[in-house]
Symmetry: C2
Subunit: 203 residues, 2 copies
DNA sequence: AGTTTTCTGTACCCGTCAGTACATTCGCTA
DNA sequence: TAGCGAATGTACTGACGGGTACAGAAAACT
């Protein structure tokens, strides 16, 4: 399950190279559309290395990909995501999301697409690990709504869980549509709509 | 490309049986996760029939599936979807969407999941045909927003295209989350949020 | 230097799956 | 009842892809 007991600097570099390249390939063509040979060709490596660094095979590689992409995506939203407690911060958060996904080499969300493709596959635990990232992400939004309410910016009867769910859904729906429409516009519209919904609860 | 020059009633029934069963299998496990043998087993048929009725192979079958599911999904939203011109109609529409997806044998949206899985695959025209269904669906929502504005229920500076995009994104994001959370709640929250955004443009 | 461990490359195995070939049965019409 | 096309069943093929075996190169450690 775990890579060899220790990694030399060279080994760590190779492993990182594989993850980064595989992440982009999978984002572009999906897990099912990306073979281990593709990944090897994209990194100048072969199956030897792949199974050396990911003894669990493709499943373990995909797990590593999910972790990698989750960090990348969440980092792009910081520091706003962590401190959502005023209207200005929400706007900034929206801008950072738009900027991040607009600069990606491909449309769509690495985590969302992964979660969707893996849902209802053979291994439920596999899908669960990916959706755990989704839950964490959604949790940040819920905390933000909660902070807004605590600060008196939102009505007291606002349900942070529900509202965060709505914002999170809008975000991912917008990302799904960027995939099919090949444009950033749906994401912008979706986030504007989500913030309008948030504002409709203003105290 | 087209099935044999003519179909007997028996043949038409078999074809329909294949489409219906395949639709559910693909909804549950995705295109990549469903083999032609699976479909055969699920309908008591074999590859003989599959290629008899869909000479274009899996690609043609998937196209038929998309058409089938699109009609099914849009029909479930009628008549509200066609006549969105007052607040009550939007509420009814929301209810019909919730009822439909709540009664499905599996979570998620057949069209949305298909569009996401096919985006960035080998055949772009294949993905385009699926997303054409998405565009049509979105068009109904845009017309509804347009009607609301024409009726004076929304501010005149409201952009129906943008607003419909936001509502459509919320819908599909909610559906994506039903897949990962195995609950209808995210869809309900997403639609409530979308309608709140719509109401924020009330005249 | 020598030994051990990590790193890298290649060739192979085996299951799965889309697609094909072809034989057989069914159902209609003459 | 003969014949024709549609409908069905089965066995096969060829490619692809995940995974394994194993051998050689490169470091690290003593």
């Amino acid at each position: 399950m775990t890579p060899p007991t220790s990694l030399t600097p060279k080994g760590a570099a190779t492993r990182a190279r594989i993850v980064a390249a595989a992440a982009n390939l999978v984002l572009a063509r999906g897990v099912g559309g990306t073979s281990l040979d593709d990944i090897g060709a994209g990194t100048g490596t072969g199956k030897g290395q792949l199974f050396h660094y990911f003894p669990g095979g493709k499943a373990e590689l995909v797990r590593a990909l999910a972790d990698f992409q989750a960090e990348r995506v969440l980092d792009a939203q910081r520091p706003w995501l962590d401190t959502l407690d005023n209207w200005e911060a929400w706007e900034r958060w929206r801008d950072s999301v738009l900027a991040h996904y607009g600069s990606q080499p491909h449309w769509g969300c690495p985590i969302g697409a992964l979660a969707s493709e893996l849902a209802g596959r053979d291994d439920p635990s596999h899908a669960a690990e990916v959706s755990a990232h989704m839950d964490r992400w959604r949790g940040y939004l819920r905390d933000g709504v909660e902070r807004m309410r605590a600060a008196g910016a939102l009505h007291n009867d606002t349900d942070p869980e529900q509202l965060a769910l709505a914002i999170f859904a809008a975000l991912h729906g917008g990302l799904l549509l960027t995939q099919t429409m090949h444009s950033i516009e749906p994401l912008r519209a979706a986030l504007d709509g989500a913030l309008a919904a948030l504002r409709s609860h203003a105290a």
